[in-house]
Amino acid sequence: DTAVSQTPKYLVTQMGNDKSIKCEQNLGHDTMYWYKQDSKKFLKIMFSYNNKELIINETVPNRFSPKSPDKAHLNLHINSLELGDSAVYFCASSQEGRGLGNTIYFGEGSWLTVV
């Protein structure tokens, strides 16, 4: 059983479109994240939710809007896609989000290509 699953795995779309990436975790964790990994493999946190509440919102354009309907789901909606949004987006979860050293479990990533 996949612990953190995200869909779609691959997404190719045109500039200006709106797209969503869905994420679900079955680990019973309280905290979920979205990370962005660019072409140089830099992995940067975008958002973090704890029990459906937004606790980290890095300097991400407001075209990116996370939504957490319940603590097992954290979806990412992106409006007006730009070429620079092309990257791999990772959903992740952990039991405790306060940096106390809990393991972060990652999904397999969603490869977004904007053309």
Partner: protein, 111 residues
């Protein structure tokens, strides 16, 4: 900016050799973790070392932490082709609620 920087950026060794990767960070931390990322996959947690620990082992992995130098090293002994992956250190900043990843070391183990 990235908290951790790995060194070297890339490393190529023969199977059976040991691989050492280093991570330097900038601010005080609670813990440091190492993750592995196989090509086209998500990151997988390998090992965690707390700020009051100096060394930790897990199977063929040995991690050291020097808080005075703000650095950590990951040693993989008797490497295997299956160890080929990118390795990232991750720190959680004292007082902050997030884990920040380093720039990664790409390891290639040649059979």
């Amino acid at each position: 900016s990235q908290q951790g920087e790995e060194d070297p950026q890339a490393l190529s060794i023969q199977e059976g050799e040991n691989a050492t990767m280093n991570c330097s960070y900038k601010t005080s931390i609670n813990n440091l973790q190492w993750y592995r990322q196989n090509s086209g996959r998500g990151l997988v947690h390998l090992i965690l070392i707390r700020s009051n620990e100096r060394e930790k082992h897990s199977g063929r992995l040995r991690v050291t932490l020097d808080t005075s130098k703000k650095s950590s090293s990951l040693l993989i002994t008797a490497s295997r082709a299956a160890d080929t992956a990118s390795y990232f250190c991750a720190t959680d900043d004292w007082g902050y609620q997030k884990v920040t990843f380093g720039t990664g070391t790409k390891l290639q183990v040649i059979p």
